[in-house]
Symmetry: C2
Amino acid sequence: MTTLDTLAAPPLEPAPTRTPALIAALTAPKGFGDATLRDRRTDAIELLGGIPDAAVLPASELAEATARVLSRPGLPALQYSRTEGISPLREWIAEREGVSVDRIVVTNGGFHGLSLAIQSTLERGDLVAVDNPIFPLFLRGLELADASILPIRVGSDGLDIEHLRDELRAGARPAALYTVPDFHNPSQGTLPAEARRELVDLAEHYGFIVYADNPYRELWFGDAPESVDAFNSSDHVIHVNTFTKTLGPGLRLGWIVVPEPLRPAITALRSRQDSHSSTFVQAVVGELVTAEPTLFDSTLQRARRLYRGRAERLVAALEREAPGSFETVLPGGGLFLWPRLTDDAVDPDRLAADASAEGVEYQRGSFFPSGPGTDSDRHLRLAYGHIPEPQLDEAAARLGRALRRQLD
Amino acid sequence: MTTLDTLAAPPLEPAPTRTPALIAALTAPKGFGDATLRDRRTDAIELLGGIPDAAVLPASELAEATARVLSRPGLPALQYSRTEGISPLREWIAEREGVSVDRIVVTNGGFHGLSLAIQSTLERGDLVAVDNPIFPLFLRGLELADASILPIRVGSDGLDIEHLRDELRAGARPAALYTVPDFHNPSQGTLPAEARRELVDLAEHYGFIVYADNPYRELWFGDAPESVDAFNSSDHVIHVNTFTKTLGPGLRLGWIVVPEPLRPAITALRSRQDSHSSTFVQAVVGELVTAEPTLFDSTLQRARRLYRGRAERLVAALEREAPGSFETVLPGGGLFLWPRLTDDAVDPDRLAADASAEGVEYQRGSFFPSGPGTDSDRHLRLAYGHIPEPQLDEAAARLGRALRRQLD
């Protein structure tokens, strides 16, 4: 068991007034979060974040949908709406998730879904089982409940269910568990169908809530991803999704599939925080996905082709520019490559610094462990989604030069 | 001193999992909040909420601004952005408020600004001085901090500073104070310049934070409202505003002017809840208000004329349809009339029921006290902003008939 304190930066500077406990538990960014604050070369290639490419976002279709919703009598798109979200967007999401519409709560994006889950299901100081390695910003979200964490290994097939089972049998009693089941961030794996079922069985048996965080789910390259039925049919899962990676992070629009018994708490909380997600954004996206029923999937098809091509290009370029230096696995989907340094003599912090000097920025693997026992520090997280192929070649070349600064 | 418990409905139904303290403090809607849940006549005229009229929302201009921002290279409107908000919107707000841009945090509307203020400045169980009568949803927001309240009288000039001073001298030590300084909701008054200064002096002397909630500020009918300089120049005020009443509630877009020392706490909290307000909505509104610099003010001028005309029409109609039955004050701005029943023999609850049967819905005054000592139950809150003048006449006629059911 690791507490967040062992990972956390110093607390925020105190304000002149007294600082509430909620705020006192929030720490200043360090590591992953402040990588974007460094000085860098103006021509740096930034493989930092899981950012969708503007080329596959349906901009003109969004503008047209906006014009249509803003021409409707009474302008419902500019008025107050229900806390849970509006029609037809909510119905469209429910049908896609295969659940009743009552179980859909529209959010301001995936992270917002996680924060609502944290705030509505965790008591302050609770223990939460989490991916190890992990999407680090989730740990920052957990500060909202001043939670402690129980790191669970993540391997090439996602969360290690046997490790989780062992911890539970040994007496660990988490209130919740966080995992990214599809195209794991950062480590690429996907949780198999049987493991999803076992995870849900454990949650129901031991009485914890699974936060299944699925922002990359729609961005699959080969076969469609595993079913989410196990998640969507349990009272012990909050299934978190978003339009962030498919229609654009700037919309701030996502959804959670919530168990019926949790919905009153989540909507009561939501109605006291920001009332509801923008009716305007919901109306525009609802119009976009329903006016022309094939548009969303054809948008996704273009995106999948683009990202798959970029993933393949980056893998090939790394092997060309630094032969044998990286062990890579071609991603099955998503926006990240998680190559491992094969040579133990390479210092990964020096590599990141040299790469920055050569003009390529990425997230170093050491930002991602939630506890001991991983080889994350031997990895790099390379985000390729928004980088054109010639720049991926150049990024790999720069990375190769950075490596050779240590090895030659 | 009154605790929220004495006003509150029963707690939410428990979920099968344990309920965190944050959630346990949230109550089911009662009174003000569930008035919209009643069965009513299909031809009912609803004077319920402070809703802007679609006729004075700049719909086509918003559609055009959307088309422009979605044609920009790289689609910044669809990408992640800063927690505090984006340019040029944030700069435009800062200039209008007369503060440095660093002090503006863009929010998802006025209520969201209040919730951020509550969560970032209150310890659980704190005492908060509040308007009496009050905008009731603020009390629901206070449940986020499980706060107790100290009701302070509100008169025809807004918050009664002498009452507040007496309470402070007698030993009350609130952590914060909530008031609507301009065109008070529900009771119409505006806090004079001198009282604003005195309020801020008291806040600085006794060490509490003022939440100055100002959604109606721009909707003035005669002279421009009092200056907000006293609020915007103190480290003890969070000044809350929104585009809700001017460009539309459905945008979910507002802002807070925050004291520098509180900004780290507020942005740290915000970044863990929903990251930032929709870049898309911010970009569209930023484009709207900056591309044609006179557009926002000319939109406001049309809205002021419309609402002023409706306020005058409603006052005249009430006097015509129920001569002498209501004491009214022509509003100086905003969206509400707060007439007082002159005849003590009238039962206000029966009046509301009879009015509903006649086909007119409003918020009864008894929903608005935060404590004893008001005559709010003798008042009606009539929202006229979104009701065309012939319907205001008809609403007054129905209200007159409802009154005569008791008096004849």
